[in-house]
């Protein structure tokens, strides 16, 4: 979190390299997050990521390091954008329904943000720091051994095991915390 605090400070001071640092660290996970929130629609995902980054540079002064990482903050902005898009779509649907058949105009629309497991898992992964998500993918998705990962990353096997352990715990925490945002 100290890193995020320092990075945010540099951003507030207008340091362009800090922006590039933030961008390179968060672009991929944020895009992943947006992509799944957008039900696999690249166009919508691009719109969300675009709006999230612009909103972030405009309101960097609102970022509170104590409340989470910059990456989580960016994902929060993206999530708000997704909700706004859903509201827009809902109003379109109302128009369609009223055209498709004679129905009462004042339909109660129950908002539900509860995503399916595929979205939840990928969103939780996107909220993790890159080191954590990378090691989880290498180990479990690509089925590499700890030794292989250690060789590729230039770490000791012990360090990789420790990293994996922290990554798993962080993944569970991220998954649970993401659920909170839907309640």
């Amino acid at each position: 979190m100290n890193y995020d605090r320092g990075l945010a400070k540099r951003l507030k001071e207008g340091e362009t390299t800090a922006l590039q640092e933030l961008y390179s660290a968060t672009f991929a996970p944020l895009y992943r997050f947006a992509y799944f929130q957008a039900q696999g629609d690249h166009e919508v995902a691009q719109e969300i990521v675009h709006d999230a980054f612009l909103e972030a540079v405009r309101s960097i002064s609102n970022y509170l390091p104590d409340k989470g990482s910059l990456q989580a903050w960016l994902c929060g902005i993206a999530r708000n954008r997704v909700r706004a898009l859903r509201r827009e779509q809902d109003s379109e649907r109302k128009a369609v329904r009223s055209l498709a058949a004679s129905r009462p105009a004042e339909q109660t629309v129950v908002e539900t943000d509860k995503p399916d497991m595929r979205v939840s898992i990928n969103a939780a992964l996107a909220l993790l720091p890159n080191t954590y998500s990378d090691v989880l993918i290498q180990k479990y998705v690509k089925d590499k051994s700890v030794r292989e990962i250690a060789t590729e990353t230039g770490q000791t096997e012990k360090a990789v095991e420790s990293l994996l352990s922290r990554a798993r715990a962080a993944f569970r925490e991220s998954f649970t915390a993401d659920g909170e945002s839907h309640d």
């Binding site: 207008g14 362009t16 922006l19 590039q20 961008y23 672009f27 895009y31 992943r32 039900q39 629609d41 690249h42 995902a45 691009q46 990521v49 675009h50 709006d51 980054f53 612009l54 909103e55 540079v57 405009r58 859903r86 779509q89 379109e92 649907r93 128009a95 369609v96 055209l99 498709a100 058949a101 004679s102 129905r103 009462p104 339909q107 109660t108 129950v110 539900t112 509860k114 399916d116 497991m117 595929r118 939840s120 898992i121 990928n122 939780a124 989880l136 993918i137 479990y140 998705v141 798993r168 993944f171 569970r172 998954f175 649970t176 915390a177 993401d178 659920g179 909170e180 839907h182 309640d183």
Partner: protein
């Protein structure tokens, strides 16, 4: 149990298993990451430059305004006082206009917000001469000299000179001077809340929608222009071009012209290119004359304005659309439409266009023409002229249009004419015109093939400024071949503007229905009887709905049988929602949200009543309006009309409505049903909904009408 509590039940091992099951690699589209980074960096720099630089303008805004409480007894006095204060304010712009009349030279700096670090550009400009100096940290790095013929640009760092022919964007400065000299107070709205004080200086700020007056403003997405005027001197302080932010909540300056007063006359020598003798000079090749000369129409009485005819379209009903490009005095001369409200945005009086049609612009073989409308693009360099052949020559759209017209001699290809030569020739010697003839191949079109933007430019309600601004913005993007940007621009407009735009789109779209004679009407009656006969066996109706109230990307397709209905809603070929209805219940599945809504059905299902209506089709209800032909001249549709839509429940039955029915002559089947309402003006009709019938495949299995959705979908019952 909340979602969080549910999720807490998962162990790490279970989550890892889920990760293996659901993980999907995601790659953003190529180039997106880099292009977005550039945009984000640009925005970041812009914000920093605004925040760091203690702009004198921003400083004013930070000054807290004292809250005034006016006792009730003083209210009248306050009103009188306000009027007294406002009166000189209103007169201020008139004073500016008066002062500017004597100004020959304009001296100013240009700041482009999106390009910080590019240095300061300082300009001296006279009517058609400009000197521009670019400095970084007080050091001159580049100079440019521009006149109506060419631009000489000297890059000091590279020690290089580039000479090229003048382009519209190079002449922005001349247009700016012209604009300030012809400032019309009535165009501007005072923005009192923005009035700022700086001790000795006091500014009044005025605002107007961007009208495409200048090339840069027109092309940079600027939608609002603000003029800052010094109260003491009645001179313009700066002119800002503003653009809405991505969220649309606020306007931010994109371009700022800061005027430097007092204005001394610049020495003549400043406008002469000066660079070292040993510099490398690159002269761009002169424009090659086009193989076929662009036809020029001379329609202004003084012979000083030329119009090039670029394209022509003719439809089967004889409606002709010409795209014309204005060539002549602008931006050197005075834009005549600024002075005369009867003029079109591109500077020609309608009366002159009529004269052109009846006089210098004539057709071979001779044919009577009827003026329809004209409209222009934002930079006033092109416009559309629309007229109708009455009747069509030889009864069909001609392959070519033959005109007689006047041509400047210097424009003839054999004389090696170029555009700038032409302009000079026109300005200096109006007698250089001669009678010429030409023909231009026509492009046949049907109404739906012509971009709606062209029609949108017709008969603009000039009093609706936001509307015309929106329209011009859309046209500008359309001209730049960026329909997506046009749509983006459209989205930036407020609901009122959109409403107006929609209204004009509907009302000004010309019909290509040819009125029919009584003999055809008899034949049409036979066809309608056949249609009624064909309809009797129809059990299932398959149709698509389009309506102006729906997003253009949305497509609704319906299958209807008896009292059962299935409706599919698509966006970009992706099904986003499905609905099933019968006389008892209504089930809607929202795919993106994996949610189902179940509700009782209200009486009078529209899709069902359309089936009923199709089955009960009565030829006697309909009046034959005419026929619409295809491009090859063959009869395609019979077009019929009947008042009211009461026969189809669910559509608006109140007010003045009518239905139009297209019947295909080969199959005798209805092709589409268009439901229209009387427009708010009471004169025209606007389309409310169009039902296009799909007869190729009208057999749907029974299972089609049974609701189908995933078992894990959230179901809401009303």
């Amino acid at each position: 149990m909340t979602d969080r509590e549910e999720r807490m039940n998962f162990t790490e091992d279970q989550l890892v298993a889920l990760l293996v099951e659901h993980y999907e690699p995601v790659s953003p589209p190529a180039g997106f990451e880099q292009s977005l980074l550039a945009e984000v960096e640009s925005e970041f720099r812009r914000l920093q430059s605004r925040g760091r630089r203690p702009s004198r303008w921003n400083v004013f805004r930070r000054v807290p305004m004292p809250r005034l409480v006016i006792p009730a007894g003083l209210a009248t006095a306050a009103v009188v006082l306000t009027i007294l204060v406002l009166l000189p304010t209103r007169n201020l712009l008139a004073q500016v206009a008066e002062k500017m009349k004597g100004v020959r030279t304009l001296h100013y700096e240009l700041t482009v917000t999106d390009a910080p670090g590019q240095g300061v550009q300082e300009f001296w400009t006279r009517l058609n001469e400009t000197y521009c100096r670019t400095s970084v940290n007080g050091c001159t790095v580049a100079e440019a000299w521009i006149n109506g013929r060419r631009m000489v640009a000297y890059n000091k760092k590279k020690n290089e000179v580039v000479i090229q022919a003048t382009k519209p964007e190079f002449l922005e400065m001349s247009a700016l001077l012209q604009f300030l000299c012809e400032l019309r107070p009535s165009d501007w709205k005072s923005v009192p809340t923005e009035t700022a004080k700086d001790g000795s200086r006091e500014w009044n700020i005025y605002e107007t929608p961007a009208t495409g007056m200048f090339y840069f403003l027109g092309r940079s997405g600027v939608t609002q222009v603000r003029l800052w005027v010094a109260q003491k001197t009645a001179l313009p302080g700066k002119l800002e071009g503003l653009r809405p932010t991505a969220s649309g909540d606020e306007l931010v300056p994109v371009l700022t012209y800061t005027f430097l007063w007092p204005e001394p006359e610049a020495p003549e020598s400043i406008f002469e290119p000066k660079y070292p003798a040993d510099v490398k000079v690159t002269e761009e090749p002169k424009a090659v004359p086009p193989a076929a000369v662009t036809p020029i129409l001379n329609v202004s009485k003084d012979g000083k304005t030329g119009i090039a005819l670029e394209k022509a379209w003719v439809n089967p009903a004889g409606l002709v659309i010409l795209r014309l490009a204005l060539q002549g005095r602008t931006p050197f001369g005075e834009p005549p439409h600024l002075k005369d409200p009867s003029m079109n945005p591109w500077g020609l009086k309608r009366e002159e266009i009529r004269q052109a049609l009846n006089g210098q612009l004539s057709f071979e073989p001779p044919v009577r023409t009827e003026y329809v409308a004209s409209g222009g693009v934002p930079d006033r360099r092109a416009g559309y002229l629309i007229f109708r052949f009455s009747p069509l020559p030889e009864g069909r759209p001609p392959d070519k249009l033959h005109f007689r017209y006047l041509l400047a001699r210097s424009m003839r290809p054999e004389d090696g004419g170029r555009r700038m030569d032409y302009i000079e020739a026109v300005l200096n010697d109006p007698s250089s015109w001669e009678l010429y003839e030409f023909s231009i191949p026509t492009q046949p079109y049907l109404t739906e093939q012509i971009p709606e933007e062209i029609y949108d430019s017709l008969n603009l309600p000039v009093t609706e400024k936001p509307f015309t601004t929106a329209l011009r913005g859309i046209l500008a993007e359309y001209e730049a071949k960026s329909p997506e940007k046009a749509l983006q621009f459209l989205k930036l407009q407020g609901p009122h503007t959109l409403q107006l735009l929609n209204k004009v789109m509907q009302e000004h779209r010309p019909s290509n229905i040819v009125p029919t004679d009584s003999g055809t009407a008899v034949a049409a009656s036979d066809v309608l009887s056949k249609t009624a006969e064909r309809m009797k066996g129809v059990r299932t109706l398959h149709f698509e709905i389009t309506a102006p109230s729906l997003d253009a990307r949305v497509m609704i397709e319906m299958w209807s049988r008896g009292d059962k209905i299935y409706c599919s809603r698509r966006e970009k070929d992706r099904v986003v929602g499905e609905e099933w209805a019968n006389s008892e219940g209504f089930v809607a599945y929202l795919k993106d949200e994996n949610r189902v809504i179940i509700a009782p059905t209200e009486p009078g299902l529209q899709a069902r009543s359309i089936v009923q209506w199709v089955n009960d089709f009565k030829p006697s209800d309909w009046k034959l309006l005419g026929q619409e032909t295809t491009g090859d001249g063959g009869l395609k549709w019979l077009v019929l009309e009947m008042p009211g839509t009461g026969k189809i429940s669910g559509l608006r039955t109140s007010g003045d409505t009518r239905s139009r029915l297209w019947v295909e002559d080969k199959t005798d089947l209805p092709g589409k049903l268009e439901v229209q309402q009387r427009s708010s003006s009471g004169v025209d009709w606007t389309t409310y909904a169009v039902f296009r019938f799909l007869w190729d495949d009208s057999k749907a299995p029974d299972s089609f009408f049974e609701p189908k959705y995933p078992p894990n979908a959230k179901v809401t019952k009303e």
